[in-house]
């Protein structure tokens, strides 16, 4: 890691794997149970950047960065670049910075991240990038902010609890409740890996699907 391009390559690769971690965190219920904590504020302010889950290790986010170590990057360098990536994202969590002209669509900006935190139907599951928007453009999840749309922030079913334990672990409580209510193991597996909001097909009183 004594060449500048090695750090540049690591930063680019790390953002690629962050994109896929982040996308999975939104589309896989088991991972969303942790990540929903970050989306629980109903307003977007800088302080909400640090409403972060304390269950990330449980939600396997580290698995997404393992390939960087396997291909030879030092674990400490991977961890350091990840920390810088997350520090960069602090300033994205505000409504006071307008669109930033030519860098929109290239770098992650407050405007792009407002879309990511929006619960408006047209803004759900968009703009997963950490520092760059290029992977969103490549994989079809980029959505620029529309000034005509007033953004509503937070979860689809907004969270009003001020109990930190509920905010931190409520996603897992709901998931466990759903798993207990499921009628078979196939449904339980699907509840874990399918997108948030997925529910098993209703079963009638006669037992027909």
């Amino acid at each position: 890691m004594n060449k500048w391009w090695a750090w540049a390559l690591l930063a680019l690769s790390q953002d690629f794997f962050f994109y896929w971690y982040h996308r999975a965190a939104h589309r896989i219920e088991y991972m969303w149970a942790s990540h929903r904590v970050h989306h629980s504020p109903n307003e977007l302010v800088l302080a909400s950047a640090y409403r972060l889950p304390c269950t990330l290790i449980l939600s396997l986010n580290w698995v997404f960065y393992m390939p960087l170590v396997w291909i030879g990057f030092p674990p400490l360098a991977v961890f350091g670049v990840l920390a810088l990536n997350l520090a960069y994202q602090f300033w994205l969590h505000t409504t006071l910075i307008p669109r930033l002209g030519p860098i929109e669509g290239i770098l992650n900006t407050p405007s792009a991240h407002r879309v990511h935190h929006g619960r408006n139907p047209e803004y759900l599951d968009k703009n997963f990038g950490g520092t760059l928007m290029i992977f969103d453009r490549i994989f079809g999840t980029y959505q620029p902010e529309d000034p005509k749309i007033e953004i509503s922030y937070g979860l689809v079913a907004q969270e009003y609890s001020l109990n930190p334990l509920w905010v931190a672990y409520g996603g897992f409580v709901k998931l466990i409740r759903d798993l207990c209510k499921a009628h078979n193991w196939r449904d339980r597996w699907d509840l874990l890996i399918k997108p948030p909001g997925w529910t098993p097909a209703p079963t009638s009183a006669l037992g027909n699907p």
């Binding site: 989306h39 302010v45 907004q158 909001g197």
Partner: protein, 80 residues
């Protein structure tokens, strides 16, 4: 050297972020026309359920916003 360097960098970042939050809070009311969320009892309480329902109805989210749990959202609908 590193014993002091890394805590110093961390401290500068910490103080910088804190200053940014305070700056945002001081500008918030004049720019957004409403108090900074902490003035109303926390980020989550910044919108009352009734106000949320009104806003949600204007963007087509009334059914989910009026209930504390997601409801009526199928597997094919992106839901968060």
């Amino acid at each position: 050297m590193e014993l002091f360097l890394y805590p110093t960098i961390g401290g500068v970042i910490y103080v910088g972020f804190l200053a940014a939050i305070l700056l945002e809070a001081s500008l918030y009311k004049s720019r957004r026309g409403k108090p900074y969320p902490w003035a109303e009892g926390g980020i989550s309480r910044s919108l009352s359920p009734s106000a949320t329902a009104l806003r949600a109805s204007s963007i087509g989210l009334l059914s989910s916003a009026s209930s504390p749990e997601p409801s009526g959202i199928g597997a094919s609908t992106p839901c968060r």
